[in-house]
Symmetry: C2
Subunit: 95 residues, 2 copies
């Protein structure tokens, strides 16, 4: 799925209700989903991980929709390699 | 950009070094980036938001790569509407 399609389906399914909740609620929900993803990675199974990655993507897209961000425009930052060193593979010092 | 391409470029640029850091480090970095995104949404400008959304997508993809998750498979959860009520727009009670 293209990032623009991810934003489109999220808008169609949740746009109106997510705008009712507001941007701060979207940030809070995204943080909650990151916590659930962390748990699924640590002790969940593959099915749990699929579900939590999907939820993180959906809330990221909803937050982008509410803040006027085009995720395809955003990701151009990584399209030509590491944004810091410009190389791919990245050649930055390992921090 | 398709989610498979997002995973591919993240693997090419960061796969080896992210595996050196390990899954727990990827979770920690993703959490850090969510914090930076929250700040950019609250008080940053459009350019800050583009950067932080990109970083969240890149770390989400890196964590998916390290845990064997195909983000396109994951997002099928939302492809046909809300996974809870099945409708689009979602018709769940507002929580």
């Amino acid at each position: 799925m293209d990032l623009s399609e991810l934003q489109r389906i999220t808008e169609t399914t949740y746009g109106e209700r997510d705008r009712q909740r507001g941007v701060s609620s979207a940030v809070a929900w995204l943080a909650e989903e990151i916590g659930e993803l962390a748990r699924a990675v640590r002790k969940g199974d593959h099915s749990d991980r699929l579900e939590e990655f999907a939820d993180v993507l959906a809330w990221t897209a909803s937050l982008a929709n509410q803040t006027g961000v085009d995720l395809n425009e955003a990701i151009t930052r990584y399209a030509a390699g590491c944004p810091r060193c410009g190389a791919s593979p990245c050649a930055c010092a390992l921090d």
